[in-house]
Symmetry: C2
Subunit: 202 residues, 2 copies
């Protein structure tokens, strides 16, 4: 391969990858708006500025597009509380900061969280998503565990539950809050999350 053709090929690859990312972004937009059950390829294409045919130029089929989109989604949702962890100088401050951060993302990113739960649920029926979902879940678990460990450290105590139990509890809390938030109710997520954090170390 000559120097020139190499440069061309690389540019080609870059453009190809960029288009994939672009289309995956549109897919996420459609999915978060309509839900998995009602999202079609034509709907996704309309969110982008391309026609529906182009999707099969960049992806072999719908499953590959959605899988790719899920992986892309992962990037934005597994470091959400790290700032609160880094900032906090005391246990009480982390408790408060963590709760506030959770309540913030509930309000700001509600449709994205809704999408995540929808995709995780799809993986209960469609094995194709299962591996990616489990991996994202593992990373989310790690994200929560960083909070719990730091909190324990600041409070001079140790966690009284495993990391998987801690993650499950906060995830359940968030999901409940999301359900009620989207139904138009007020939630007490910030307070509930903070107080639950307090219960998980001793």
């Amino acid at each position: 391969m000559t120097e020139t053709s190499e440069r061309i090929a690389r540019r080609s690859v870059d453009k190809f990858a960029q288009r994939r990312a672009e289309l995956a972004e549109s897919a996420l937009q459609a999915l978060s708006e309509l839900g998995y059950a009602r999202t079609s390829l034509r709907e996704i294409a309309q969110k982008s500025n391309f026609s529906h045919g182009v999707l099969h130029y960049y992806f072999t089929d719908k499953v590959e597009l959605l899988t790719y989109a899920v992986r892309k989604f992962e990037e934005v949702c597994v470091t959400r509380y790290d700032e609160a962890v880094a900032m906090a100088q005391s246990a009480e401050e982390l408790q408060r900061g963590f709760g506030v951060a959770m309540a913030d993302t509930l309000r700001t990113d509600a449709v994205m969280h809704r999408l995540w739960y929808d995709l995780r649920n799809q993986s209960l029926f469609e094995a194709a998503f299962r591996a990616d979902v489990l991996e994202i879940d593992t990373q989310r678990q790690a994200m929560i565990w960083r909070v719990v460990e730091r909190y324990a450290e600041l409070a001079d105590a140790s966690p009284v539950v495993t990391r998987s139990v801690a993650y499950a509890a906060f995830d359940g809390l968030f999901q409940q809050a999301l359900l009620h938030h989207l139904a138009g109710e007020e939630t007490r997520l910030a307070e509930d999350a903070g107080s639950l954090l307090g219960q998980l170390v001793s």
Copy 2:
């Protein structure tokens, strides 16, 4: 209304209601097998012994059928742990019994639980289901709270979280276990649930 026509009307209503229940049962079977996204009316009809046209004789449209099915579903899933509560003579026994009951229903009724989470998630996108879902969730919350209160009583202590937080935590725990169970992994749900119960009173 004469005595005769009253008898006729009642029998008619009974039969009508019975068919609706019958068809809703088939709907639940299809839903739990395929998931909301892939369940069609023809699929539901095939699970019953009728043709697809009959569904619009007993239900005005798909949404009414599914809503009816969800309500029917509620009946079987909100008293699941009451026996463990009634049996337990001590805190430790309840802790164990509750964990075992959870792990049992995880194994036995996995597809039904999967369906529940799927429908609850649909309500995040489709407002038509929201009211029913919230009501079922309230009843599930009450079911969990009966366990926590009884456990606190037996342990001569009091709950350290609200009923909504307690429900959210156990629900999250169960959902995680379901995800891993359907992925073919072993879970430690019985132990985790028992130990979490211990953490929620003091």
